[in-house]
Assembly symmetry: C2
Homo-oligomer: 137 residues x 2
């Protein structure tokens, strides 16, 4: 969330120092797969990078504002593939950038398994319409 | 890792279907902070997005090849701030794109705490020179 990032030795201060964010990205992770914390970390990273690329291409102003204010990210959980896809459909109907992550199953899980969903960055209130009922991971 | 990504309903097939990767990104996470799996997921996502942006700006061909071959990501652990900074210095000396993540401490940890390090995407062998001795998260 709103943070400083040291770029290989050079401190870069985010433009926003407040704890208020107009934009956010939500990372929806399946917990029914019983993935390790390392696997969860990688799936969250896949969802974050891929959904951010969707936003950068299709909603560049959202992406830029989110990046500049400190890239708010929230990780939430679902307990089934079906629930994850319901959230994705809601995000699609709301016109939010989103990406479903399918893992090739090289470790821990079967090939093609849907593990995560990245939504946004997008305006905070719009993302909440799709994800506010999901518990934190 | 090498995977298919469904972009809000439209299936995008990665160019590479092999399990061999020429490029990778390594996400180095501190485990001594006893962060929750959700916090770890968000810190890994911060490291992935910020380091990928570094690479996209300073090594665009690395970034593009990594993105196209399926964005290999590996999560590893360190047990102290000092060890994380040693790995960062090694990455800097190797000329690898990297970003240290400092969390504002809005949840779980103190403001300004260094939580994670993102290295790459960069050529696999070069990243290994900085991270091959680190255990998986």
């Amino acid at each position: 969330m709103n943070k400083r990032v040291r770029l290989c030795g050079k401190l870069q201060r985010r433009k926003s120092n407040s704890t208020n964010f107009d934009y956010k990205q939500v990372l929806v992770i399946r917990t029914d797969l019983k993935m390790s914390r390392g696997k969860i970390g990688v799936q969250a990273a896949h969802a974050a990078v891929s959904a951010a690329e969707e936003a950068r291409h299709h909603h560049p102003s959202w992406w830029q504002k989110w990046f500049n204010e400190g890239q708010k990210k929230v990780a939430v959980k679902v307990t089934s593939r079906e629930r994850l896809l319901e959230v994705k459909e809601k995000a699609v109907r709301l016109g939010l950038p989103c990406v479903v992550i399918r893992d090739r199953g090289l470790t821990e899980i079967k090939p093609g398994t849907i593990t995560a969903l990245g939504i946004g960055p997008a305006p905070d209130a719009d993302v909440d319409k799709a994800t506010s009922d999901l518990p934190l991971l």
